[in-house]
């Protein structure tokens, strides 16, 4: 868990089920399921269920990309990073061949260029300030962190700003996506993708060994990585594309802005077919929104099932400021970088798309800067 952000709420309070919030989480999930099932959309229901499972898995395993990357950069500890690679490897086994061989399925691809690199770098800064990434924001908000509510709100605002900026950054140039299966076929592409993950793991372990740090994933990261990887496959099967998080935020923000009277329909981003469709249709017609909602309520149910929910006090103002700045940077960066650590890194690498690794290599230095900035906001570098 992004432990600092979960606000350890229950100091001495009796552990047990928080019936109010458990009922709220389950009731909200049931309403969403009923709405999509009334429309005959069983796959949409599956995406909500998959997201719910992801929320439970992330919360129970305390699976944090942000903390893992920070531990690697500051101490050389590699266990968390390797846990993240387990997720990608499991997902790749399904995504690379199925996306190449089956119609109606596709991988997460994206062009390579300045927009990707700048976006990932800025996202990296933001995730360390916010103390949570794309998935981390969802499950910590669902888990009862008021601090991360602030991050989510600004994440949404930042992603709308990013949608307005993206066309200008794409105009800086770039090259079309490079997909392993396009060059090596479905099985050769899968082999190359798994080899790239193994190579990354070997490099990460080497760094950990040289720094005298541990590199074995904890039990939580092994089991969590396995469960999250399998749920990623489930979401891929239900949605036709790898799991993504941040486009949903952009849609929510754009719909809210439209309700407040801002006309986004004239901006280039919202004239592209996909975003235009998402803005005009029901929010429950967007695959990433469905998994996002499921994940929020899944994490809420899991948290409320074990302890008093959101029972802590609000964190200090400086910490809230970091949460806000981090959220804004992540939102803007995610749009420019074609997604977050889930949509761009996990989804991209698991699809055999080179942009996933480029995103990772650009986000890491951003994380380093974010880590150095954390003490300004009263946050530990560790």
């Amino acid at each position: 868990m992004t432990t600092a952000t979960m606000a350890a709420p229950q100091s001495g309070a009796a552990l047990g089920i928080d019936r109010l919030f458990l009922a709220l989480a389950l009731g909200a999930t049931a309403i969403l399921l009923a709405l999509v099932l009334l429309d005959g959309q069983a796959w949409s229901a599956a995406l909500i269920v998959g997201g719910f499972g992801l929320g439970v898995a992330f919360l129970k395993a305390e699976f944090s990309y942000t903390a893992s990357w920070r531990r690697f950069l500051t101490r050389g500890e590699a266990g968390g990073l390797l846990g993240g690679l387990i997720v990608i490897a499991i997902c790749a086994i399904a995504v690379v061949p199925v996306a190449a061989l089956r119609q109606n399925f596709g991988g997460a691809i994206a062009p390579l260029g300045p927009s990707l690199i700048i976006g990932a770098f800025v996202f990296g800064i933001g995730m360390q300030l916010a103390n949570g990434c794309g998935s981390g924001t969802l499950y910590t908000v669902g888990g009862g962190s008021g601090r991360m509510l602030v991050t989510l709100l600004l994440f949404i605002a930042g992603s709308v700003l990013g949608s307005l900026s993206l066309p200008s950054f794409l105009a800086l140039g770039g090259i079309d996506p490079i997909l392993a299966s396009d060059h090596l076929g479905p099985w050769g592409g899968l082999a190359a993708t798994l080899a790239s993950i193994a190579l990354a793991a070997a490099l990460i372990v080497t760094v950990a060994k040289r720094r005298g740090a541990s590199f074995m994933p904890s039990r939580n990261y092994l089991i969590g990585g396995l469960a999250i990887g399998l749920l990623c496959v489930f979401v891929f099967v239900a949605g036709g594309h790898p799991w993504s998080v941040t486009f949903g935020y952009t849609v929510w923000g754009a719909k809210a802005a439209s309700t407040l009277g801002f006309d986004l329909t004239h901006s280039e981003f919202w004239q592209w077919a996909g975003p235009k469709h998402a803005l005009s249709e029901s929010v429950l017609s967007d695959t990433s929104s469905l998994t996002d909602f499921g994940m929020l309520f899944g994490a809420m149910a899991a948290a409320a099932a074990t302890r008093p929910f959101a029972a802590g006090a609000w964190p200090p103002l400086k910490s809230l400021l970091a949460a806000a700045v981090g959220g804004l940077l992540m939102g803007w960066g995610a749009r420019l970088g074609f997604g977050c650590n889930i949509g761009a890194f996990v989804g991209g690498v698991a699809s055999g798309s080179l942009h996933g690794w480029v995103w990772f290599l650009a986000a890491l230095p951003g994380c380093l800067i974010g880590i150095r900035l954390r003490p300004l906001f009263g946050l530990s570098r560790e």
Binding site: A28, Q41, A108, A110, A273, E281, S282, G339, G343
Partner: protein, 53 residues
């Protein structure tokens, strides 16, 4: 009840109302889609490929 819990209740109820309201007042023309499902999309957000610009 703490301020945080009250905030959460308000946020969840408002968010749920917004989702339901948006769903009931907007078209939903079939299976949920991603921007990548549309012709010409080159990224998860639906951005076009550099070679197509």
């Amino acid at each position: 009840m703490t301020a945080m819990r009250k905030t959460y209740i308000v946020v969840v109820v408002l968010a749920l109302a917004a989702i339901v309201g948006n769903h009931l007042s907007s078209p939903s023309s079939g299976r949920a889609v991603s921007p990548e499902d549309f012709v010409g999309a080159c990224a998860p957000c639906g951005a076009p490929c550099p070679s197509k610009k």
